[in-house]
């Protein structure tokens, strides 16, 4: 009988083309590379400069999401590009995909969306796969029990040419959370709490496996929210073992296996879990009952507190930038903009949570709220349920899919000094516009803050939580 092994170990072993030696890293096979317009053009140029062919176009899937406007095209079909260069970048991806035979979901595709929303929705993300993308939030796909990580543009080129990556084997970090979440506490609060606990460098060099009853109880969107932010504690990837929730999400998706292949795939996927007795290099255990609705108060995602708490002392630079006083509450701070979207929190269940708050309420005077669905599919599903009407009636903007204000590349930014309560993943200085102050939060907390115009604990609004 073989040694008990972790989920990570099992996926790794399945993809070793050449094992690691003392002198050289492992050559690891990549099942799927996702592409978007920002981190791919130089990789395609390098491929051409070297006269190399794209080895496996069928193992690539592309979308446009980062540089794209989130306002609809005008009556002439023209988009409101932030710069001519943004348009050129998108056109360059069109040309590269056309030339190399890559499936691209561009403007005319009903599936187009944020790369980490679209891939799972199409069923392209499957348990046991290795998935890469030139984007640090690729760990999102780990929610399906896939080993998924962000890479740089040079490595994007390696995968284009060889379908392989050089990788040294990471360490494993087990994060176990047990128990039910309190009302008003969401998967976003869980991952913010975890990052606050282990720190922004706490996962460096490691692949995280999240396990325990709290994650088992989450739907796939919640698991994606958790895995998405693994990079914010420095981890290379985050994983959750697949189960019935995973299988029922994937069944009948366009790129998922079908018929007899489906049954065989599920039988295989059931083996993808950490064996009893297998050990992680490090284990962190957390009680779900101690997790509150969480927000960031500072300038990186490890500066986390419960929304009802007081801002801690000891980081003068962060406090200065955020214009906050140590010892003061963050709740009650005036909010200029609320952003609900990004690869962290733009899926249907996130939009439903936000709509539950907006229903019958109004965005506060002096506050602007932007709701940006993660994909075309999510947008249509939300509209079929009438969520768009709830957002519009509340005075929020309902936009076209894209990364939008998470990183502001497409021109969706706030003004210097403004405070943004954002469901995205990074509160770095200037990330959402020069001088903009970002508070990361769940969709519930963000929506509650929109209707009060102040940073607000969603549990304080009647009828928001059951």
């Amino acid at each position: 009988m073989s040694e008990p092994s972790t989920l990570f170990e099992k996926i790794w072993q399945r993809h070793v083309v050449r094992p690691e030696t003392d002198e050289t890293p492992a050559v690891l096979y990549v099942d799927l590379q996702l592409l978007h317009e920002v981190t791919s053009p130089q990789a395609f140029s390098e491929l051409e400069r070297r006269g190399l062919a794209l080895r496996r176009p069928d193992r690539h899937l592309a979308t446009i999401d980062h540089s794209t406007p989130t306002t609809p095209a005008d009556k002439h079909g023209e988009y409101d590009w932030t710069t001519a260069q943004a348009r050129i970048q998108v056109e360059t991806l069109y040309e590269n995909c056309e030339k190399h035979g890559i499936e691209l979901h561009g403007w005319d595709s009903p599936n187009r969306g944020i790369v980490h929303v679209m891939g799972p929705e199409m069923g392209a993300t499957q348990p046991g796969m290795t998935i890469v993308c030139g984007d640090s939030h690729t760990a999102t796909h780990g929610a399906f029990g896939a080993l998924a990580f962000g890479i740089g543009t040079t490595e994007v080129g390696h995968v284009l040419a060889s379908q392989c990556l050089l990788q040294s084997k990471p360490k494993t970090l087990g994060i176990r959370v047990e128990g039910d979440l309190e009302p008003g506490v969401t998967p976003k609060d869980v991952i913010l709490h975890i990052i606050g606990r282990i720190g922004v460098g706490g996962g460096t060099g490691s692949v995280i496996e999240y396990f325990g009853s709290t994650f088992r109880a989450m739907d796939m969107a919640g698991r994606m929210t958790v895995c998405n932010m693994s990079i914010e504690c420095g981890a290379r990837a985050g994983l959750i073992a697949p189960d019935e929730t995973t299988f029922s999400y994937l069944q009948d998706r366009p790129k998922a296996p079908s018929g007899a292949n489906w049954d065989a795939a599920v039988a295989d996927w059931r083996t993808l879990k950490t064996d009893p007795g297998a050990e992680f290099d490090r284990l962190v255990e957390i009680d779900a009952a101690g997790i509150e609705p969480s927000v960031t108060w500072g300038i990186h995602p490890g500066m986390v507190m419960g929304v009802g708490g007081s801002v801690p002392d000891g980081e003068p630079d962060a406090l200065g930038y955020m214009q906050l006083q140590a010892g003061s509450p963050l709740a009650g701070e005036s909010v200029d903009v609320v952003f609900i979207g990004s690869c962290t929190n733009s899926r249907l269940s996130d939009l439903r949570a936000a709509a539950a708050v907006f229903r019958g309420r109004q965005v506060a005077d002096g506050t602007r709220a932007l709701v940006v669905p993660g994909s075309g599919l999510t947008k249509r599903q939300a509209e079929a349920e009438g969520l768009d009407e709830i957002f519009r009636a509340a005075g929020a903007e309902w936009r076209e899919p894209g990364c939008s204000m998470c990183l502001g590349m497409n021109g969706d930014i706030a003004q210097p000094g403004e405070l943004v309560v954002s469901t995205s993943n990074r509160n770095f200085k200037g990330r959402q516009g020069p001088g903009v102050r970002t508070v990361l939060a769940s969709p519930l907390t963000a929506a509650a803050s929109a209707v009060t115009g102040r940073v607000t604990d969603p549990r304080e609004l009647p009828e928001v939580t059951p």
Binding site: V17, E23, H158, G201, G408
Partner: protein, 191 residues
Amino acid sequence: MSRALIESRTFNLPVKNIDTDQIIPAHFLTMTGREGLDRACFFAWRFNEDGSDKADNPLRNHDRARQQVLVTGENFGCGSSREHAPWALLDYGFRAVISSRFADIFRGNALKNGLLPITVDEAVANWLLDNPDTVVAIDIENRSLKVRGYGRFDFPMDPFSAYCLVRGIDPLDFILQGADDIRRYEESHGK
């Protein structure tokens, strides 16, 4: 001078957790080439919105010709995977960065572009942060950092990256030398 041997003075940015949005803000990422990122490097630290120089720019006294080694606080390069970060640092004029910890993706991206990420113990990093404009010599082949007036230290670097840097070997060539292995893997695993 060989890429494997750098002798230069240090320049300090004593800040922890410098993320890649600080190294190069996202609005510079719409480019489709990789040249000309000198001005983009630490843009929001150096320039006002209107493009004028910032009075409190922490790099204002940096001597680019003489200080090609950046010393920073821990967890340098966290955040986004943008390879534009090492491209910008190189275009600006840095050839190596010394820190007590680097974010994984940044370190990999830097190595692939010949920007040397040198990890040192906290004590060494702190000494350097206390002693700006120190002469250092970085020897990749022997993975050794010499700090004038303080000592000589080994630094970790995976042997393959060091080999590629010293010999000028391209990692993609190494992967493609194993094309038969890749084909066999695809056949035997039904890929």
